[in-house]
Every structure is written in structure tokens, then in C-alpha cells.
Amino acid sequence: MVKKLRFVKLISVARKARTVTRKYPFEGPLITEEFRGEVRLDPKKCIGCGACIIICPPNALTLHDEGDVRVIRYFVGRCIFCGMCAEVCPTNAITITKEFELATLATEQLLRDLVHERVKCRICGKPFLPAKLLKAANDDIPGSDNYIDVCPECRAKLGLKGILEHRMG
């Protein structure tokens, strides 16, 4: 008979476990220090290189070159919180926060934009790359000062002209 009534033991299981409810939002969330939440792009460190945009699997980070401005747009709504962008960012501009309370009434509220001023080409005047990216590239590549602020098309023409002169010399 005792074996038949073993299901009543549930009461003792419940009494031992007591009430475990964590009264969120009045009490803190059940979170560990390793949790990957929303990602934050630091405007001071970001050079607008787009490495994070290439690696982002769901295209939550997108790059828009409009007019004389380059916008790095982070759409939190599509982000899958994998943290790969923080891993590939050359200047560690991306930090992973613990923020998960992101609910909003409209998806526009989930957009975070970083607007970079694009340098205009010395020759043709067309804007091409953000200033900070050019500066970073300049520091890395020695002796590139004289044509760093020339857009790729003009630079190609310059290079071609250089070779022709050299050959026609």
C-alpha cells in the first residue's frame, strides 16, 4: 500500500524546496557575470573600418555610406548576442554589457548609429573613407602620407600616371 501512495511524497519534496521564486522586477534577475547582453560601440575608439559588419552573422551591424557620412548602424532587434564583433574589433571599441531589458514599442528605438565624417578626396572632392580610418591606416603604412587623402580612383590614376612617366621617362 505504501508503494501505491508514494506520490504523496511530492509534499515533502515541495516543503524541502520551499518557494524559490525570484520576485523579478522587484528583486534582481537570475544573471551570472558571464552573461552576454546588448553590445555598445564606443564612438571615441571606433575608426569605422567595418570588421564587425563583416563578421556579424545576422547583419545586425550594417554600414551605410550616405552623402559625406558613413553610418555604422547597430540594430539591437536582430542582434543574436554572440559577441563575435567585440572579438574582431581592431581597436576594442565594442564592449559587451549585461543589458537585457530592451523591450520597446517600436523597432526604431532599437537602432544605435555611429556617424563618421568622410574625408573628401584631395583631387576629385568625392568623400570616401572616415578620417579616423585613414589616420589609423597612415600610422600603420609608413611613407603613405602624400596620397593618404586621395580616393581610390584618383590614387589608381596617379599610380598609372607615375608608371607611364617612369616608362616614357
Binding site: T21, A103, L105, T107, R112
Partner: protein, 164 residues
């Protein structure tokens, strides 16, 4: 059918929210977190939230998934079966932004894209809240419900930084 005055319905809803779980092709990560919200550690029943079996009984739809092409007609039918006030809580990066497969041939691409289709179909949704996350933690879902009920102001705002 009978017109119901929305304001008194919404006020009455603050203390008793019956939710219906609608999976439109999700990987079921968010669906498990939705179920997790019922379990002892989070216990949404203390807010008067109850999971119901039919859209006829529901006030809020817990919408997960990027709406695959196959589920589209059935999703519309389920939403139309709900009495007003009819509210949607879009949970997870699939529902909010189409997720990692947002531009695949077999996926509509999340709730924002469904909204246009719903307008064409004449299905009125009174209020929508988007809860990002992959999967959205149970606490994030609870926070989403609080925003839906107007108990809490959403923290997340659009930000634009100028880089000099």
C-alpha cells in the same frame, strides 16, 4: 461583433493577462524561455498571467519566430480568431528583426514585415511590444509584458553618436 471600449478593457487587463503562444517557425529557444517564465523561479502567475490553449481565450499573443512562408496563412488565421483588445508581444531576434535568416527565401522576416500583411488582411492589432534576445531571457519577457501593460517605461531609446 460588439464594439468594446478599449480603455476600460485595457485597464481591466492590468491584473489578468491571458497569453497564447504562437510559434511561427522559431528554433524554439524563445518558446522554451516562454515556458520557463511559468516555472517556479520566475512564476508569472503572480502577475495574473496564464497560458491559455486557444486564441479565443487570449489577450496577448506571445509571438516567436521569423514567420516562415508555410506558417503565414495559419498565423493570420490565429490572430484573427482573437477577441479585441488584441495585443502582440514579439519575442526574440527572429520575431523582432527576422533573425539570422531574415533574408532567406522561405522566411517573411519577422513581425514588422507581418504588420503590413495584417493591415491588408484587415486584422487590427491594438498594441505591439518588441523584446530582443536570442533567446530572450524569461526576465526580458516579463519586462516586455510590463512595458506592454504600461507599468514600466521602455529604457531602450534610439541613439545617434557623432564621431569627430
Amino acid at each position: 461583433m460588439s464594439t468594446v471600449n478599449l480603455s476600460s478593457a485595457l485597464k481591466a487587463l492590468k491584473r489578468s493577462v491571458w497569453v497564447f503562444h504562437l510559434n511561427s517557425g522559431s528554433c524554439n529557444g524563445c518558446d522554451i524561455e516562454v515556458l520557463d517564465a511559468l516555472t517556479p523561479y520566475f512564476d508569472v502567475e503572480r502577475f495574473g498571467i496564464k497560458l491559455v490553449a486557444s486564441p479565443r481565450h487570449a489577450d496577448v499573443v506571445l509571438f516567436t519566430g521569423p514567420i516562415t512562408r508555410e506558417t503565414l496563412p495559419k498565423v493570420i488565421r490565429a490572430l484573427r480568431a482573437m477577441p479585441r483588445p488584441r495585443m502582440v508581444l514579439a519575442i526574440g531576434s527572429c520575431a523582432v528583426g527576422g533573425g539570422i535568416w531574415h533574408d532567406s527565401y522561405s522566411v517573411i522576416g519577422g513581425y514588422p514585415k507581418l504588420e503590413e500583411i495584417l493591415k491588408k488582411e484587415g486584422v487590427v492589432i491594438d498594441k505591439v511590444v518588441f523584446v530582443p534576445g536570442c533567446p530572450a531571457r524569461p526576465e526580458a519577457i516579463i519586462y516586455g509584458v510590463l512595458v506592454l501593460l504600461g507599468v514600466v517605461e521602455p529604457k531602450s531609446k534610439r541613439e545617434v553618436y557623432k564621431v569627430e
